[in-house]
Symmetry: C2
Subunit: 613 residues, 2 copies
């Protein structure tokens, strides 16, 4: 892949930075974060401003452009990719390496005295604004909010904001009505003496109202804001979307049963002025909850005396603990996904082909869409951790290389995310050795027993211990929360060496378990299951705290050919055999029912028992 | 042990809270933190104000007294002990339990509107002040600095602040002169454009000047402050202590070689006014470094525009990485300590007696003092995690109970801290099972290989995995930094599930590895070695990051009788055998040289080889 040529748009951007049409005085630096106004992880094309200015399209990165420099901060997953996608105008800042300066330190080192640094307040989080602003002020500079986004100024053919059709979800999928969810939210607010709650995260809004959209690829969400008071519910969304009778009925827009559960609707853009009006009418003791990761623009509308920022909203916390209906849905979705994958792998073994286009066909039952872009990579491309095939770099599947496929789907009853690494020929001893360390890490997390109240980051090292012992590692976290027919990545839980303020794991939470190993220029290995947190009863029960463990929801065989089974302990071999037995029982029954004979034969072969040596 | 009767002193304290002699308006609540003005972990008797008011003498706890209530916050180590030591006037607030309110939330729930909450600004850290103050203000109350400590007001026979003799340490112990340390500090200051550094932690000051004192039991430190500028060094200490010629010579007080290395001395108490004078003369861009855990009183002397608080000072970071001389000293100290312990255990087996008084006699070579009060407990007392024998509860050593001894010493070349759990009769199957899980955890940490840059908290779960698997756990961290002839507990590194902002482990750092298990009312188990972080070279070297592991400095046999060796893996048995071989070689040679025949025989017997089954 050749890098995007950015000389001309950088020239235009710098002109806009000097152009007093957009602000009172020129700015000496402009920060371009990755996100949209909703802290979304995946973003709509109209919000891909950092990609537009730099060419780098990885999921994480922050660009800063000054008069002289253009620099891009990204993490270990993207070092190779960013280097390939950006031209010489850009300097790559490798986050996580000791010698890499922070954005603040770098700005302070390159800016002339008394500089102004601009940023769009709608796409920088309030807490990031605060930290950046503090650092700049302490060095004699200042951070200014540029209301007119300067990338939009230099982006002539910027796409429109999407406004896809909304889908309602009934109780058979959600288990809880939106009215009950609002009532539970208000109970939390009463408990903490909070009068208003501003919802900005798109998946929280979709979850609250039991609605789904398709505004952002892979994430079944829609652009909206919501503000919930003790007696009112305000929903901000493109009003055209609410015309369908089914929707109006679902939201009880025309005949609300109770006044406090009546939803007032407003245009998406009016959230700023409505929130201003609400704040103007606040009593002296009224408090407003907003996520501390919400945009600086919206956060600062709420006067400081009334503002109560929280790291995780009550919606985020409630959504993370799946109810029985949601868990059942997730289980069903994973069986469907396993069926699709067995078919695919069985077919793959017969036909060597370029994979990526075939994927959708195999997932046909209740299949809504992918939950993220499939990562399908061969040989050295696997070492680009989140590689997506592009025409220029796509490699043909061969018998001689490690093949990594990470894909997920949205079903109406659940979301899947699975990675398998396989070899259709004969893996090298080193490939097998690395695969086995990754497998040991995967098992160590999946089989871990831990007390109630344990935070996910305390489990991260279990996934790495076998790799570390041989001097190996991987530069990404081990797992993320998974939504239920919602975003494939969701908070507030996760398994990562980064000690973000994650919430303790609870029974009902669903996370991924996905250690890996990436050998630059050669191959990539990752092994990922989606796992459900479940209670377990070990021999003892210290202080009656109770214990938790994981149950794999993903049921796709792990290729025994890639394992050096002599490196596995008896306990680990037993785990693999038990897991494969479950795959055979559950997915095998479904393949049989559907009459998919070849896939069934493949499944039985791939799940054969590993003997003790 | 019967609780302290606190009715009368609480009455007096509440009178003082209403008494306008000490402040303009009465206060409705008074906070009594544990500490002194230097963030010391162990404190001098004159600073034991929280113990005086409540009777509870554990190392951690915060008391809050209001007109109606008296409440004590402490953590899981001290729940049993605090309950036993406090009378009915006090409510125990068990930190770490879900239902326990934070101090802020509790205050807000009990205080009448518009209350004033008082605290001594010298013994509350600046960051704690900030958090508490913010929470109180948001609920309509306020936090006020009470300059005159109210416990001192109601404490007629409060002891004097200690002023023990100072000891100088030469290069043969320190490896680096104080002049070179000051120069290194200034280099760090120049790098970060910092003009002044205020040192408040006693061990940092002792380390900087290569001096030791005995002001605080177990910690060879002395009460002092230091302020270092680019051209001046100011030391605040009881001036009587500086009269000895050896000291004056060591500090070059009478004939400094270079002007910028000349030390000006001031009385201890004048730090406030001197810092005020320094701050009054600061240029607009001058910055002052102070630890963010320093006292609120001293921190607030520095105007906000000049203040640069840091979580760990450059002294703390430099001190943590021991130089070759210090490492050698620590090794020597641990051999001496192992000799003393072998003697003690050999003798113990012959004579069953009440231990505690005998301990000192056995450590005789270069022995300076204990590094903390010996914890020596039998049977159920072992379950009080930091139990110290008191006449009322002391139990006689018997053949039927688990015996836990945690003790450490200060030698001029190093500091030791070791815990062993033994049984002189026949342990029960459950005691052996628990001991073996603790041993597995100890080994998992001690033998762990991990990449450079790893923070200690990522290793904590290794110590717990075996306990967790059986539903067990312990409610304390796994390890702490250890000073070199300095405090037995020191930052900035540690191994704990609490994700305080610890610094990455580096070769040369020294920490303890001390998992445990405590069965309330029955027995306590802990197994502790002091371990040195060392580089290691596993098979591969991912991204040239390099790897680290631990080398045990403590060389005292682990009782095989307490192990259920069938629960150990081959790798774990090999670890125990290797460790015991090293004990035999190193300590055995020393015992032989000293002609301690009985101890040598005991050592050889206790380190016999565990066979594979």
């Amino acid at each position: 892949m050749s890098p995007k040529l950015t000389g001309e748009i950088l020239r235009q951007l710098r002109q806009a930075m000097r152009n007093c049409k957009y602000f009172s005085e020129p700015i000496q630096a402009y920060i371009i974060p990755s996100g949209d106004a909703h802290q979304s992880e995946y973003i709509a094309p109209c919000d891909c401003r950092r990609e537009y200015i730099s060419g780098f399209n990885g999921s994480a990165g922050t660009a800063i452009v000054t008069e002289q420099h253009a620099a891009m901060w990204t993490d270990g997953r993207y070092f190779l990719q960013a280097n390939q996608q950006m031209d010489n105008n850009w300097t790559l800042m490798k986050m996580g390496l000791k010698e890499t300066p922070s954005q603040e330190d770098w700005l302070i080192s390159v800016l002339p005295e008394n500089s102004k640094v601009g940023v769009d307040p709608w796409i920088i989080a309030a807490d990031q604004w605060k930290n950046m602003s503090k650092a700049l002020i302490s060095a004699g500079h200042c951070l200014v909010a540029v209301q007119h986004n300067l990338i939009d100024v230099v982006w002539p053919d910027r796409p429109e904001r999407p406004s896809t059709q909304l889908r309602t979800l009934g109780l058979e999928y959600t288990g809880t009505s939106w009215q009950d969810k609002v009532t539970m939210l208000r109970a939390k607010m009463t408990e903490r003496k909070i009068g208003w709650f501003v919802a900005t995260a798109l998946d929280e809004i979709a979850w609250l109202f039991n609605l789904r959209g398709a505004d952002i690829e892979y994430n079944p969400v829609f652009f909206a804001y919501a503000i919930v008071g003790m007696n009112t519910i305000r929903l901000f969304v493109d009003l055209k979307r609410l015309s369908h009778p089914v929707l109006r009925d679902h939201l009880q827009l025309d005949a609300p049963i109770k006044p406090e559960l009546s939803i007032q609707t407003f245009p998406y853009e009016s959230v700023y002025t409505e929130l201003q009006a609400i704040c103007a009418a606040l009593g002296p003791k009224d408090k407003v909850w907003i996520c501390d990761k919400a945009s600086c623009a919206l956060t600062q509308v709420i006067p400081k005396a009334h503002r109560t920022p929280i790291p995780y909203t009550p919606l985020c916390l409630a959504k993370a603990v799946k109810n029985a209906t949601e868990i059942q849905g997730m289980k069903m979705a994973h069986i469907k996904d396993a069926v699709a994958l067995c078919e695919l792998f069985a077919w793959l073994e017969k036909e060597v082909f370029s994979l990526i286009q075939k994927r959708k066909e195999y997932r046909n039952t209740d299949f809504v869409g992918l939950s993220f872009p499939t990562i399908s990579s061969v040989g050295p491309n696997g070492a680009i951790i989140h590689y997506r095939p592009l025409p220029e770099t796509n490699r043909t599947l061969t018998l001689n290389e490690v093949y990594l496929i990470d894909s997920g789907a949205q079903y109406v009853d659940g979301t899947t995310d699975v990675t398998r690494t396989v070899h259709f020929g004969t893996p090298t001893a080193f490939e097998k050795e690395c695969f086995t360390y990754v497998l040991k890490g995967h098992i160590a997390v999946s089989a871990a027993v831990f007390p109630n109240g344990t935070k996910g980051h305390l489990l991260d090292s279990f996934a790495r211990a076998a790799l570390w012992e041989s001097g190996l590692d991987y530069l990404h976290g081990t797992g993320h929360g998974v939504g239920c027919f919602l975003n494939v990545h969701e908070g507030p839980c996760g398994i990562s060496y980064k000690t973000f303020a994650d919430e303790p794991l609870e029974a009902g939470m669903i996370v991924s378990d996905e250690p890996g190993y990436y050998e630059d220029g050669s191959f990539g290995i990752r092994l990922e299951n989606v796992v459900l947190v479940i209670p377990t009863k070990p021999k003892y029960n210290y202080r009656n705290r109770g214990s938790l463990t994981f149950e794999p929801l993903t049921l796709v065989p792990i290729q025994v050919k890639m394992m050096n089974t002599e490196l596995l302990t008896k306990k680990e071999r037993d785990w693999v055999n038990d897991y494969h037995r479950k795959c055979r029982e559950v997915v095998g029954a479904e393949l049989e029912r559907q009459g998919r004979k070849e896939a069934l034969e493949w499944l039985i072969r791939e799940t054969s028992f590993i003997k003790d040596h």
